[in-house]
Each structure stands twice: as structure tokens, then as C-alpha cells.
């Protein structure tokens, strides 16, 4: 249980935007979900020779950041930039700046690998005689690979001057940004916050997850009895968070609660009983001030690895039983790692707005060992409260409660 007393004040998602392999902007993402159109394709990323499917965002190779943003130019920040251009997000932030002042808006971003692709490239281009890295890489490390890069980039693009940091806790990174922003607002250090997550494809994660034998050679099949691993993806998403009483009124969806925990068990295997996951979910409900019965839909972490889906099922079942509908949306996007939290928070917000409980794409037959009510097909109807789960490496867990105001 959170040691603080009583539920938190809800925070309105007054603007949000998302770019995944499914398309640019929330409209394209929602349309792909409704059409059950997966973005996963056989890996064609650079010269990677792995038989795996990826959710690659098209077009990142075809432009570069120029003018003042040139030092930031790398795949991760191009994706970050593309995300900022959608859904009128920069306009909403500019309006918020008018209301609060640039110094009263925080930027809290999440990523797992930042611009490590630049370092990977630089190591291949070392001077054969001296071993030195290319000068162009050396002068741009701060703006590309360093973990703060995307935070610095977003703050620069949006002209914000408030507190800023990048959270990097592997897969849970951009779920935890909501918790950090909520605390900064509660502590009076800012009046609003831009939270987000950007993570892009790189050799480190493709070969790393391959080494862990966690990549499927087919498009990932969350909750399927024959699931055999995850598919990697990339995404950029942002949310403008404001207090209810000061929001512009456009946002119908709010962050009601968050819960964070660790497994304290293993770096890359989940706790067998999902103890940490249960704790994160229960804490998120306590902060939201709601009982499990109020939750109608759980957006699962649902990576489609054998272990994750089984353990998550135990955890979710132990809190909710088999009542709420559960599904994983990773069949559309792939696992976007440090961007998974923001991706699924925004998908959850879209679902709340549209009254949609999305099915589980690529799940042919639900694993009979799973006890939760896993839905394969879309369901439509009034929806008021959703829990989104994200669990990651280092046993780092985060659950968010989102609801209609």
C-alpha cells in the first residue's frame, strides 16, 4: 500500500499523441486497431540477420533533423520529432505555456536505449589504426546516446524551462513518467507536465533479446497457447498532464492512479508468483481510490513470452479474478520497450474515449492455463476505467489507472 493517505488528485490527459509502426498520430493507430491490421513485418532493420518480426516506424531513414536541432540527429530523436508533429500536440503545449509559463511545465521522458544506435555505428567506424571513434560522433554523444538526450531534445523543441529528467527503467520507463510527473506536481515544483516515451530499434536490443531467446520467429502471439516470444517495435508518444481544475476542458480522460514496485527477484525473469506485479496493481488502485470491481478492462503488458504472460495472468487474476476483460495490444505495435508505457497508456485513453475493448491480435487460441478473461475480439460498449500494466527488466513494475472524468 502507498504510505500516503488517501487517493491522489486526478490529472487530466489534456492532449496526447502517438506514433507507432501502425502509423503517425492517434487516428492512424486507432484505425489500425479497429481494422486488426498488425504493423509487424519480417525484420528489415539495417543489416540485422535475425529471423524475427519488428514494428519499424516507416520513414525515419528518409529525413534528418536540421538547423538548430542538427546535433540531436539520430534515429531516436527523429522518432521523437515525428511524434511531436502529430495531433496538434505542440499547439496544445504552446497554449499551456501561455497559461502556466514555460518554467512551470516539466518534461519527464522515458527511454530504455536512447540513441545507442549512434554508438553502435561509431564502433564500426573506428579508426583502424588508432581505434578512435569518429569526431562527428564524439561531439554529439551528449545529444544522441546519453540517456538524457531525448529529454533535452523534447524540452528544446517545445521551448519548456521547467524541471526535466529522463526515466530509464527498461520496459517500465514511460509508465513511470506519469508517477514522477504526478509527484512533481503534488510537490508544487510544476503546474503541468509533458510526459512521454521514445524508444527506437537498435542492434543492442535485437541481438540482446535474441541472446535471451525471447524473440519469436513469427509475429508475437500474446496469451496464445503456442506463444514463443516477443516482437520488438519502436514508438514515440506524449501526454500533456494538467490538474483537473486548470485543464482546458478538452480532455475527458484522466490519470487516476499509479503503482510502482520491484520484484527483488531476478534481472531478467519475472517473480514466479508475480508478487511485485500484484503490489504495483494494488497500489495503483489504492491511489485511484477505487476497488478492483470498478475496473472494466486491463491492458496487459502481454509481451507474448511464455513467462511474462503466465506470471502476469497470475498477478492480474489474484487482484481482479476473471471479471474484467484483458488483452494485449503488442500484436499491433510490437514491444516498444521504453516507449511501451506511453504507447499503452495512450491506447487505453483512446479505448476509453471510443468505448472499445480491443482484442488480442495474433492470439489464435487463448492459453487454457491462463485464468483471466482474455479477449481475442474487439468489444464495444461504455468504458470508464482501465488499468494498464508494464513490467520490465530488473523486476521493475508499474501500473496505471486511467478513467473518464
Amino acid at each position: 500500500m502507498p504510505s500516503s493517505s488517501g487517493p491522489m488528485a486526478p490529472l487530466v490527459l489534456s492532449a496526447y499523441t502517438l506514433v507507432t509502426a501502425n502509423g503517425r498520430g492517434t487516428g492512424a493507430v486507432l484505425e489500425a486497431i479497429l481494422a486488426r491490421r498488425s504493423a509487424l513485418k519480417l525484420c528489415d532493420f539495417e543489416d540485422v540477420a535475425l529471423k524475427t518480426y519488428i514494428g519499424r516506424v516507416a520513414g525515419l531513414e528518409d529525413f534528418s533533423l536540421d538547423h538548430d536541432l542538427q546535433p540531436f540527429d539520430c534515429r531516436n530523436n527523429r522518432l521523437a520529432w515525428l511524434g511531436l508533429q502529430q495531433d496538434g500536440f505542440t499547439v496544445a503545449v504552446a497554449e499551456a505555456k501561455q497559461r502556466y509559463g514555460a518554467h512551470r511545465i516539466a518534461v519527464v521522458m522515458g527511454t530504455s536505449t536512447s540513441g545507442i544506435l549512434e554508438t553502435e555505428h561509431a564502433y564500426r567506424a573506428r579508426d583502424p589504426r588508432t581505434g578512435a571513434l569518429p569526431a562527428r560522433y564524439v561531439s554529439r554523444y551528449r545529444y544522441t546516446h546519453n540517456m538524457f538526450s531525448v529529454g533535452y531534445f523534447v524540452r528544446t523543441c517545445l521551448g519548456l524551462e521547467g524541471p526535466a529528467m529522463v526515466i530509464s527503467t527498461a520496459c517500465s520507463s514511460s509508465a513511470k513518467v506519469f508517477a514522477t510527473a504526478a509527484r512533481l506536481m503534488q510537490a508544487g515544483l510544476c503546474d503541468a507536465a509533458v510526459v512521454g516515451g521514445v524508444d527506437s530499434l537498435c542492434h543492442t536490443t535485437l541481438y540482446g533479446f535474441s541472446a535471451l531467446q525471447l524473440l519469436s520467429s513469427d509475429p508475437c502471439r500474446p496469451c496464445d497457447e503456442d506463444r514463443d516470444g516477443l516482437s520488438l517495435g519502436e514508438a514515440a508518444g506524449y501526454v500533456l498532464l494538467e490538474r483537473v481544475e486548470r485543464a482546458s476542458g478538452r480532455g475527458a480522460v484522466a490519470l487516476l492512479g499509479y503503482g510502482e514496485s520491484t520484484d527483488g527477484y531476478h534481472m531478467s525473469h519475472p517473480h514466479p508468483e508475480g508478487a511485485g506485479a500484484v503490489r504495483a496493481i494494488r497500489d495503483s488502485l489504492a491511489r485511484a481510490g477505487i476497488r478492483p470491481e470498478a475496473v472494466e478492462y486491463v491492458n496487459l503488458h502481454g509481451t507474448a513470452t511464455k513467462a511474462n504472460d503466465a506470471v502476469e495472468d497470475k498477478a492480474v487474476y489474484s487482484v481482479f479474478g476473471a471479471r474484467p476483460a484483458c488483452s494485449s495490444t503488442k500484436g499491433w505495435t510490437g514491444h516498444t520497450l521504453g516507449a511501451a508505457g506511453i504507447t499503452e497508456a495512450i491506447i487505453s485513453a483512446l479505448c476509453l474515449t471510443k468505448g472499445l475493448i480491443p482484442g488480442t491480435l495474433n492470439c489464435q487460441r487463448v492459453d487454457p492455463a491462463l485464468q483471466c478473461r482474455i479477449v481475442r475480439d474487439h468489444q464495444f460498449g461504455a468504458l470508464s476505467c482501465v488499468v494498464s500494466n508494464i513490467f520490465g527488466f530488473g523486476g521493475n513494475n508499474c501500473s496505471l489507472v486511467l478513467g473518464k472524468l
Binding site: 545507442i116 538524457f148 529528467m165 541481438y207 527483488g264
Partner: protein, 266 residues
């Protein structure tokens, strides 16, 4: 925001342990940099210690020191790990492997590469299920970590362990990030109570209001500028001196964090 400081851990060249280093930081003894031996980090289970990187062992060592001093059960403590670059030596090894034809990345090397590696190993060692955050803010990672930790204490009324650490960066990555000395510091922060010994008052200021903290000792000042985690030195010196003092830390181009140290009399 007011938080109580309940325990401190420290590891850096010539600064091995908080109690041992306190006279140096207070200015009562000269600072003499010396090579740091690989820390024991005895709380890590033997298997984990063998697999862990240097930066994990440094971070865990100071975390352990601070927690033991504070007397709190680490299973009840949330954590914030702040580091500019995280696992730079692991990135070096990974990128060397990825530059070869075979690209045979080891699973261990991959899971060691995450920014929350130290946080994860600490959680495993203590079997803690509390919240754990790992963050970066380039050169201002300590200030960002301190704000995150203090906001957690304030908003959630819990005890928080803050660990700031960055290691010397190996060649050739050190061309891009010339950090030559390791530095790790840890603070146990809690809501102020009647028996608190040190209270820290945090105030966020806009723009270049005050003079940023500099250290009178030339070698300590060099260390402060060399390693982002060593930006904690002015705060450590103020606490070591045991008198009321305000130090100001840079945070990005347009914010400053003013920290007033209030030693409590009781």
C-alpha cells in the same frame, strides 16, 4: 520541500566511506586522492556480485553504507538511482561485440546494460518490493535525482534511498565522455521527524539567481567538475561541516536547486 537525511554513503578517490571522509569534507583534514579498490558490496549475493559491473558494485556499496547508518530496513525503502551515463563500460563491451561479424551478445551483458542495472541488483540483494526509479539528466543527474527523491518523500511520505553514481569511462568512449574518476554517493531521505539530525530544505529557483557552488579545495573542485555524481560534493561538504549553510546546484540551463542544510540540535 523539507526532507531529513538519515544516512550517507560515499566512495570516490580519497573518499572511502562517509565517516572516514567527513573530516576531509569539513575542511579539517587535507584531501588526498588515492586509488579506490574494487568495493566489496557485501550485501550482494556471491553470484550477483560476480556478474555485476563495477558501477553496480560502487552504487550498491554506498547504498549499503547509507542504509546501515540509517538503521532502516531496506525492504521498506523506495529507491532513486541517478546516473548520467549508466553502464558505460557495458556499452563499450556491447558495441565491440556488435561491431564484429558474429555479434554474439551474451545474455548477461545485455541485461547488465540497462540504466536500472544497479537499482535491480540492489532490489535483488535486499529483496525489496518497493518502487525503484533510475534516471538521468546528463551533468545535472544528481540534482534531478535529489528532486525526484525529495518529491517522493513529500508526496508519498515514505523513506527513499537516493544513489548517485558515475564511473570512469573506458576508451574509446571516454573521448565522447571524459569522466576519469569514479564517484558514488548515497543518501537516505525521510519525512522530517522530532529526532532528525539533519534537515535539507530544497527550493527550486528560476534562471541564474545565485552563484553555483564551488569548492575551495582545488583537487575536490576538479573531481566535482569531472564526474556528474560528484556534483553532490558541495552538499556533502555542507553536511560534514555541521553548520547551517545553503548550497546551490545547477539544474539545466534555466533552473537552480538551492539546498539549505539545517543541522538539528536535540
Amino acid at each position: 520541500m523539507d526532507v531529513a537525511v538519515g544516512g550517507i554513503g560515499l566512495l570516490a578517490p580519497g573518499l572511502s566511506g562517509w565517516k572516514e571522509s567527513r573530516p576531509v569534507l569539513a575542511g579539517d583534514r587535507p584531501y588526498q586522492p588515492s586509488v579506490v579498490l574494487s568495493p566489496e558490496a557485501s550485501i550482494l549475493p556471491p553470484n550477483e556480485r560476480r556478474r555485476s559491473s563495477d558501477s553496480v558494485r560502487w552504487a550498491v556499496q554506498v547504498a549499503q553504507e547509507a542504509i546501515e547508518q540509517s538503521g532502516v530496513d531496506p525492504r521498506n525503502v523506495s529507491t532513486v538511482f541517478a546516473s548520467s551515463g549508466g553502464e558505460m563500460s557495458v556499452f563499450d563491451q556491447l558495441c565491440r561485440v556488435l561491431a564484429t561479424e558474429e555479434r554474439l551478445v551474451s545474455p548477461t551483458l545485455f541485461h547488465q546494460s540497462v540504466h536500472n542495472a544497479a537499482a535491480g541488483y540492489w532490489g535483488i540483494a535486499t529483496r525489496s518490493e518497493q518502487s525503484s526509479t533510475a534516471l538521468s539528466c546528463y551533468d545535472d543527474s544528481f540534482a534531478a535525482g535529489l528532486v525526484e527523491a525529495a518529491a517522493m518523500v513529500e508526496a508519498e511520505r515514505c523513506v527513499v534511498l537516493l544513489v548517485a553514481y558515475d564511473m570512469a569511462v573506458p576508451a574509446p568512449l571516454n573521448e565522447a565522455r571524459p569522466i576519469t574518476e569514479g564517484f558514488a554517493a548515497a543518501f537516505v531521505l525521510a519525512p522530517p521527524a522530532h529526532d532528525s539530525t539533519v534537515i535539507l530544505r530544497l527550493r527550486l529557483e528560476q534562471a541564474r539567481v545565485g552563484e553555483s557552488a564551488r569548492l575551495p579545495d582545488v583537487a575536490l573542485e576538479r573531481l566535482r567538475l569531472n564526474n556528474p555524481a560528484a556534483r553532490s560534493l558541495p552538499l556533502l561538504c555542507a553536511i560534514a561541516a555541521g553548520v547551517r549553510r545553503t548550497v546551490v546546484l545547477d539544474w539545466l540551463e534555466d533552473q537552480r536547486l538551492a539546498l539549505t542544510v539545517e543541522p538539528c540540535r536535540f
